[in-house]
Amino acid sequence: MTITVYVPCDATALSLGADQIADDFVRLSAQTGHDIRLVRNGSRGLFWLEPLVEIDSGDGVRIAYGPVTGSHDVESLIKTGVLDGHKEHALALGPVTEIPALQAQTRLTFRRIGVTDPRSLDDYRAHGGYQGLEKALQSDAQAIVDAVKESGLRGRGGAAFPTGIKWQTVHDAQADQKYIVCNADEGDSGTFADRLVMECDPFMLIEGMTIAGLAAGASEGYVYLRSEYPVAADIFQHAIDTASAQGWLGDDIRGSGRRFHLHLRIGAEAYICGEETSLLESLEGKRGLVRAKPPLPALVGLFGKPTIVNNVLTFAAVPEILAAGAGEYYKHGEARSRGTLPVQLAGNIRNGGLFEVPFGTPLRTLIEDLGGGTASGHPVRAVQVGGPLGAYLPQSQLDLPLDYEQFAEANAVLGHGGVVVFDDTVDMLEQARFSMAFCAAESCGKCTPCRIGSQRGVEVIDRIRNKENHAMNMALLSDLCDTMVDGSLCAMGGMTPFPVRSAFTHFPDDFK
């Protein structure tokens, strides 16, 4: 009987010592005469349990143990007999699929994540991979676009633009060359879903982009990945090479006569390059200066050609939509927010990680039921949703459901689904100051409200902190926020006021 030991290989597991755990299993199992097969799977995304080891001692059931924090834990596990079918241990969590935090989720995009070996295309196919592309290769381009439209999928990067409409625009454009560009510049604090996709199920992204290529008539694709993700770069490049070698990318995809080439490009530590036009400039080898819109990138995009620019999660949702049918995806969610959202619980949270849930789930359910409240045990005071440009929500707003429109009505944004929890030790004036300082550090500099406004914002907040001319400076801060919202070229300057304004509106005591 083969004993299989699974030790995750994503950046979080590695940051907590997973390589050492894997080495320990190989070394110590050899000493005890066990013949194990080691698989470096992706992470399930339950980060409070990482490194999360799974052991199948031959009966096909993967028993989870975690967090396995060092050699002493591995020794203890082996000594207890976990390689011999014994399933009891202080770290034992039972069959991995029965962990409540996984059972509570609706995993569509993340269905394979944590299950498979991200370096194995065979594993990908054995778990339903490439069924979407197989269907797309049998369909005409318009039918693919229609399926994406019918699914109700909206851009998962933050702006939530209907994906099918964007694809239709590029499909309809006439050009000798079109491009597919994936925005993997996941710079928002509190987000790591794109990273998990690229590290744990890279072929899914390749498949989604290839389908987009067929839909739009584009033969070239680029993934722009931030340089802060070296593990993702390594695993994703391996996936491109493997897919190319096995005919899933290239001049003749699986004998269909269709072409699609994919290139991985690495950013260079510039937050603004997550803004799509800045990203295109960067891909062209320039400073990441934001472009004015119109023209839309769908018509004048990369190298001036019609271009689909979507986030990792958007492309990653597409194979499932094609494979299972648009209606299956649409039936999840509510109102105009359809399907599922991979929510990332982060910051001061006990059980942080990736939770894919249908739209409509209340924020409080996520934070209290799934997340288990704060890691510190203190009460939750503020929650920032949607990255550094997202509003801070007070306790009274935590009943908001995950829904693009309802968040917008509350002057908040769902963005890329990052949820950062703060306990009652947070100083909201400091957080507001940080938002302005971050904007000053990362502004591309093209428009004045963002470039100068953020610097003035830091100064005004400093004066408020120092109690200089308090009423006047509060009024000035509010005016400055208006100017930045109304006058900035892109979301960097235009949305930095969201966290700032929410901080002084909901937490006025911190500004006194």
Binding site: L14, S15, E228, G347
Partner: protein, 159 residues
């Protein structure tokens, strides 16, 4: 990191390998910095020639991105995440501790040129912060004690 002064020939070989790719400048800057640790004046001049741009344009791109540098680096780069999710888990005090421990301020290099300390805005490990990146290695759940152990390892190899 060792930083041999690159020869003109070595630079030419790197540049020629991918100068014809569309939008080649960023990949080329990465190749040069990954190989030599930084991008020197000669590289700027050769890049300008190869890509038919001015040296000012090349410099403009280098200076836009935090990652690119035009002076020799320290042997190791230590980055501390300063973004919100890590702040919520104690990154501000870790940053203060790191500066004190290494005797430098943010963006500073130790006197023996062994370690450069930089801030970073998010390493994507936001549920297990505070996070520190040492060269290409990520460390999560870093408190002051773990930071000291990580620095002991780095400094130990130097001695």
């Amino acid at each position: 990191m060792q930083t041999p002064s690159p020869s003109r020939e070595e630079l030419r070989t790197l540049i020629d390998a991918r100068r014809d790719e569309p939008g080649a400048l960023l990949p080329l800057l990465h190749d040069i910095q990954n190989t030599f640790g930084y991008i020197n004046a000669e590289a700027v001049s050769l890049l300008a020639d190869a890509l038919q741009q001015t040296e000012a344009e090349i410099h403009g791109v280098i200076s836009f991105y935090h990652q690119f540098r035009t002076t020799p680096p320290a042997r190791h780069r230590v980055q501390i995440c300063r973004a919100e999710a890590c702040q919520a888990r104690g990154a501000r005090s870790l940053e203060a501790h790191a500066c004190k421990r290494l005797g430098v301020s943010m963006h500073g290099m130790t006197a023996d040129q062994h370690i450069q300390l930089d801030p970073v805005y998010c390493l994507g490990n936001c549920a297990t912060g505070p996070n520190v990146r040492i060269d290409n290695r990520l460390a999560g759940r870093v408190d002051a004690a773990r930071f000291d152990r990580l620095m002991d390892e780095l400094e130990g190899e130097h001695r």
